[in-house]
């Protein structure tokens, strides 16, 4: 089949170092010119329509931006202080606090690597100071960071929702219980290891410190209330929520925490009050820190979305040649049942996740497996969560694992050492994947309870 040639070409180009976007786009264009009678103009049209026609993808730059403002603006630092005050006194307390902080940051940010950088850069150093090994610290954060895409908001969920046209709000709700569950499983795993290995525990924080830390972190954490409350309270759509989050994060960072913008001062001094410098309300808009953060978020958006846009070209070419229908027919004719099908999906995604960045992989795989899943009566939201969890695992397995790269940088460790360090926790995530795959209600309970049963339109 020609389609095998197509995928072989994509992988071949990837391996020799062609950018992912070009590997996808170039293979699709050749395939289109050879096998169909569609024009190159239709490729350009699809490229532009990746943005014009996929309004939900807009949430990605906004969530990236919100996340950048929070990292630059000191939200992560305050969340960590609060986590340590809460759970630092358990055995393995600082590690558990690290996971807890990752979970909280995940509820603000839509990306896993961003979560690792924001929390890891502070927590790993702190863990080493109190006597944890570098490996253990790196393994914990590398894994807990993957919750960034499972706990809403999530860029990967937005991509899935856009690719198969399910509700973003529903996907976000579906991630809540699995996210809490995965976080809890990681924390229990750490606690058990801590008891076995005799890892250090911190002092119990006094209630005064807990309250003080909570009040400080509260401004940042209130964003969770804004995002979820705003979406389910009818104030804005999930896409708009991301833009509101970005504006709120900028406001908190510039005017409340004042760790960036015109009111920030050098380390160690208290930041300037807005009363002393009221013109900052305006100058903050074009302040160097604001512009730099916008640019950094924009740059990340560009590289990510260019991959997604080229993956959408591939999707267009596959649709044009009716490939998904052929695959669906072949698989159904082979008598594939739901259980076997989900195994196949997991294997495809796990292997794909070894090589590809999650969003690009998802855009390609989702439209191929979605029609089959619907035929087999699998809930589209459940399928989405399965895919997200697979992406999480892909992020911490070599050779391509965003979280591995980021952690190796943050912890100053060679990649292979991080891989070994992440292994014990990876086992926990595997157990979690199996649970998610075969117990659909973990994913579907909350969205069905709040939004009613999913309507499935073929």
């Amino acid at each position: 089949m020609e389609v095998i040639l197509l995928f072989a070409m994509v992988i071949g180009l990837l391996l020799i170092g062609v950018p992912i976007a070009v590997s996808l786009g170039f293979s699709s264009v050749l395939f289109l010119l050879w096998f169909s009678d569609s024009s190159l103009a239709s490729v350009a049209q699809t490229l532009f329509n990746a943005f014009e026609g996929h309004y939900t993808l807009l949430a990605i730059p906004f969530f990236i931006l919100a996340s950048s403002f929070m990292s630059t603006g000191g939200v992560a630092r305050r969340i960590i202080r609060f986590s340590i005050a809460c759970v630092g006194h358990f055995h393995g307390g600082l590690a558990i606090a690290g996971v807890f902080a990752c979970m909280m940051f995940a509820a603000l940010s839509g990306s896993s690597p961003a979560t690792v950088v924001a929390i890891g850069s502070i927590v790993i150093a702190g863990m080493r100071q109190v006597g944890y090994t570098k490996e253990f610290a790196a393994g914990v954060i590398c894994n807990a960071g993957t919750l960034g895409i499972l706990i809403p908001p999530s860029i990967v969920m937005v991509v899935y929702a856009a690719a198969v046209e399910v509700s973003v709000g529903r996907m976000f709700l579906a991630g809540v219980i699995p996210g809490l569950l995965a976080g809890t499983m990681l924390m229990i795993g750490i606690y058990v290891m801590a008891r076995v290995k005799g890892l250090p525990k911190g002092d119990r924080a006094p209630w005064s410190e807990r309250f003080a830390a909570a009040r400080e972190a509260g401004w940042g954490l209130f964003l969770i209330v804004i995002i979820l409350g705003g979406i389910y309270g009818g104030i804005f759509t999930p896409t708009e929520a991301a833009a509101v989050a970005a504006i709120y994060a900028w406001f908190i960072a510039s005017f409340v925490y004042r760790d960036m913008g015109p009111l920030a001062t050098a380390e160690g001094q208290s930041n300037t009050s807005i009363l002393k410098k009221p013109q900052a309300l305006f100058t903050a808009i074009w302040h160097r820190d604001t512009v730099d953060t916008l640019f950094e978020a924009g740059k990340l958006t560009v590289t990510l979305l260019f991959v997604i846009a080229c993956a959408l070209i591939l999707k267009h070419v596959l649709t044009d040649e009716q490939i998904p229908q052929q695959i669906t027919k072949a698989m159904l004719a082979a008598g594939l049942g739901p259980i076997a099908f989900l195994v196949v999906v997991n294997v495809i995604l796990l292997i794909g996740g070894q090589f590809m960045e999650p969003s690009g992989l998802l855009v390609i795989v989702a439209p191929l497996v979605f029609p089959i899943a619907i035929e087999l009566g699998i809930d589209p939201i459940h399928l989405g969560i399965i895919m997200v969890v697979n992406m999480e695992i892909g992020m911490i397995t070599p050779p391509v694992g965003l979280n591995l790269f980021v952690t190796s940088g943050v912890a100053g460790m060679p990649m292979m050492a991080v891989v070994r360090a992440a292994l014990p926790f990876l086992a926990i995530l595997f157990v979690f994947l199996i649970m998610i795959t075969y117990i659909p209600i973990i994913s579907t309970f909350l969205p069905n309870m709040i939004m009613g049963p999913e309507m499935i339109t073929k």
Partner: protein, 313 residues
Amino acid sequence: ACEEGEVVVKFAHVTNSDKHPKGIAASLLEKRVNEEMNGKMCMEVFPNSTLYDDNKVLEAMLQGDVQLAAPSLSKFEKFTKQFRIFDLPFMFNDMNAVNAYQASDAGQAMLDSMQKRGLQGLAYWHNGMKQMSASKPLLLPTDANGLKFRVQSSDVLVAQMEAIGGSPQKMKFAEVYGALQTGVVDGQENTWSNIYGKKFFEVQDGITETNHGIIDYLLVASVDWLDGLDAEVRDQFLSIVGEVTEARNSEAYAVNQGAKQSVIDAGGTVRELTAEQRAAWVEAMKPVWTKFEGDVGADNIEAAQKINMSMSN
């Protein structure tokens, strides 16, 4: 898969292929063309916006990447503003009037009105009359005051919602259910088949049978593609199109009435208007006509009104 030597016809549309009036018609057309024109023509239908959505399909048609499409009539307002007549509220009393207008000289002339811009209308395909729904009961136009209504991209529909004191909102169709459910927008307007198919009734207080406008589609092809067909192939194709149109248009009313009954059976609230209530809606919305009379053409409006008159007698 098509065979060597067959004319390949890609038909991209945005609905399902087995429940929606347009989807059913497209599937029937596909079946008949592939059976009766085997060896000469081969049709591939791409439903559910998988290949192109309504915004892109006409561009793709003009550049030769798709051969057949059936977007809603408001999409053609960019080609000629005459098509705004089908968005004007209370322009047609019922589907029979719509049908008669489309079959009249005025309606048939509109099929040819876009030739200069490269499109040839082949047939009008019916969906049905639009109803209005909201998060509270709508019996008089004043009930809509201050409510946010999702509207399609059409200046006429924006003006219509403003005429009843509503706040029109632009939103992608895929987002509408969620937005109605959470209350980002309060209401919407649509045909019974769309209200049932997209389950909007589940997240609205009720649906008021206003019959205030229509949603219909225009089956189109590009002039260049049609000109390039063998005369014999083209004639056979067009005669199949004609038969499918007739068969499905006569069923469209029943499809929508069935959808209305399904809404009721599923526990949705349906409200009917008394003659006085309806008159109030007409009075509130009709001023919109003046604003767009220049675009639509006074003669076209007159022709439509004549048809209304003659059919109510």
